[in-house]
């Protein structure tokens, strides 16, 4: 077909470069997915013999080499729950300030920088802060309270960022309409902005749950312990001033500190932790997609 429409060498080269680039970048993207699938698959296969409802509800036995993970699982629920109670109100209000009240001046740029930096502080530094501020300075001791407060400050940027995004997605015209009928700034926020962004804020809270549940270092030195005796399946084993076990730290302990653990045990713990976190994240993603599809503006 070498006729009038034959490609010039220049065009041919250009098209080869194009297809090479497309496949190289495509492969690079695929290279991100493959490890996720392989890792999750591998963990699940090795964890399979130990995975059961009994594993979740049972307590660790024989010096943590056998049994289940209940005290750690319920401990994580406590830590996450209490940290949410603290950080959600502060985070949502901070986001309202930044998105609805703050003028563009040097001070608010400083606030923005602080939020960015708070997100970038290493988790071990948060642990040191929690130890210095809550355990010693505030005299809360090694306790659920100290650990939850540390987690709360650590996950604050997550809720601020996602709430801001939700607030910013409410069109400016909605606010202007409300101001024009004489409403104050807060009345506008309460009557117009919040009702239209509440589901987006909820998505942020869900993401915060997953972030808090997976953290290890911040709770390791502020309130989580290697072992705590708890009744099998007991939903309220801990008080605010108690120390507790945490799922993430339990995985670290089983993997590195306890000799002669039953082979599948750490794998099963990893699968429960990973499974819970991914499940929570998937919920947030589904919620977000559903919201986007029914958005009216």
């Amino acid at each position: 077909m070498a006729g009038r429409f034959a490609k010039t060498p220049h065009i041919a080269r250009k098209e080869i470069a194009e297809s090479v680039a497309r496949s190289v970048f495509g492969l690079m993207s695929a290279a991100m997915i493959v490890p996720l699938v392989l890792i999750v698959g591998y963990l699940v296969v090795l964890a399979w013999p130990a995975l059961s409802l009994e594993f979740l509800l049972d307590v660790p036995k024989r010096g943590m080499t056998d049994g289940g993970i209940w005290p750690a699982f319920v401990g994580t629920l406590y830590l996450v729950g209490i940290s949410l109670l603290v950080s959600t109100p502060i985070g949502v209000l901070a986001a309202i300030y930044l998105n609805e009240y703050a003028k563009d001046n040097w001070f608010n740029r400083l606030v923005n920088l602080a939020v960015i930096n708070l997100a970038g502080v290493p988790s071990i530094v948060h642990a040191l802060f929690g130890l210095g501020a809550f355990v010693y300075a505030a005299r809360f001791g090694y306790s659920i309270l100290s650990a939850s407060l540390t987690l709360a400050i650590m996950t604050l940027p997550v809720i601020i960022a996602s709430t801001r995004e939700a607030l910013a997605s409410v069109p400016m015209a909605f606010r202007e309409a409300c101001w024009n009928v004489g409403a104050t700034r807060w009345q506008t926020v309460r009557a117009v902005v919040l009702p239209n962004s509440i589901s987006g804020i909820l998505t942020g809270v869900i993401l915060q749950v997953s972030r808090a549940a997976g953290e290890t270092a911040p709770v390791m030195f502020t309130g989580a312990v290697f072992f705590k005796a708890v009744q099998r399946g007991d939903l309220f084993p801990y008080g605010l001033g108690d120390q507790c076990m945490a799922l993430s730290m339990h995985l670290y302990t089983l993997a590195t500190q306890v000799p002669n653990v039953k082979e599948a045990l750490p794998y099963a713990t990893a699968v429960v932790l990973l499974g819970s976190v991914l499940l929570v994240n998937a919920t947030a993603i589904v919620l977000r997609i559903w919201l986007r599809n029914r958005k009216k503006w």
Binding site: M32, L93, Y97
Partner: protein, 309 residues
């Protein structure tokens, strides 16, 4: 919007003094929460430095030795040394290897997501990236300790599988999602008129990417890389479990190392509260805080650079 009060009811004149006061109080609370981020960052620096400060002025401690000596013997009976240089090199080597892997893959994937793939595939990939970034660091560490170390021992014949290579790969996998999502945002921020102009001149996608988009999104992509670096430097549990436990300057990829973060996590439990050892660990924390502060501020200024333009 049935919940919107009618204009007459919200006229200011008709509102009770209590309602106005309540609103004022609430707005004060909102402002306070807004400022809280600054307070928390300042508090973190203050409390970490406060625990570290006494050792700075104590006899026999020198900041030069702390920063540049490779001798870390915190529990030695007669020859106590607090030199963190080997730990700093450990952090740098693992981070450098991680970036060597994560930057090309991350930016490549960002370009693919933003320019080459169809919307449906893009949404799927973004979900995968989000899930990837949600995996807790202790799970990554566990993967490094079990799966990756076995693979490395089998592939290289190294005596132990927990080393620079292992930590680097794990950290790369952890930083890729950050680089991809920020990098994709940077590419998306390039106005479509740039793309249209390129296409009108007969450019292929690839020509468009490397002649137009990469130069235009340069700052945003740099910020993406910097945030990836920040994530890698600050990572604790994963490197604690995956890099082995040797405080020395690594000679090869298959040497075990220890990083600044992992060192704190490994020794904080054993250091008696108030001891010099304990305070030096807090000083390491202060150092880490300052490093990530600089990295994050730089990333922010770099991004701000494009917005100005």
């Amino acid at each position: 919007m049935s919940s919107v009060p009618s204009p007459i009811r919200i006229a200011r004149a008709e509102r009770s003094r209590a309602a106005v006061l309540a609103e004022k109080a609430l707005e004060a609370l909102i402002r306070l929460s807004g400022v809280s981020a600054i307070l928390f960052v300042a508090a973190i620096f203050f409390f970490v430095l406060k625990e570290a400060a006494p050792v700075l002025f104590s006899e026999g401690f020198s900041l030069g030795q702390f920063l540049f000596s490779t001798e870390w013997y915190p529990t030695s009976a007669n020859n106590v040394r607090y030199g963190t240089f080997a730990l700093t090199v450990g952090t740098l080597s693992v981070t450098a290897l991680a970036m060597l892997i994560a930057v090309p893959f991350g930016l490549g994937a960002a370009i693919y997501l933003s320019e080459f793939c169809k919307p449906r595939l893009r949404e799927t990939l973004k979900v995968v990236i989000e899930l990837l970034s949600a995996i807790p660091s202790v799970v990554w560490g566990f993967v490094g300790l079990t799966v990756m170390s076995k693979l490395i021992v089998n592939a290289t014949g190294a005596p132990v599988g927990v080393n620079v290579l292992n930590g680097g790969i794990i950290l790369a996998l952890m930083s890729v999602p950050v680089i991809v999502s920020i990098g994709e945002d940077a590419l998306k921020a390039v106005p479509d008129s740039f793309r249209e102009a390129g296409v009108a001149l007969g450019a292929t996608r690839w020509q468009l990417v490397y002649r137009v988009l990469l130069p235009a999104a340069r700052n945003g992509l740099l910020a993406a890389v910097l945030l990836g670096v920040g994530r890698a430097v600050g990572e604790t549990m994963a490197v604690l479990m995956a890099t082995g436990h040797a405080v020395h300057i690594p000679g090869s990829l298959l040497d075990s190392v220890r990083t600044l973060t992992a060192n704190i996590a490994a020794e904080l439990g054993e250091a008696p509260s108030g001891s010099d050892h304990y305070r030096v660990l807090f000083l390491t924390g202060t150092l880490l805080f300052l490093i990530t502060l600089v990295v994050n501020l730089t990333a922010d200024f770099v991004v701000r650079g494009i917005r100005r333009k």
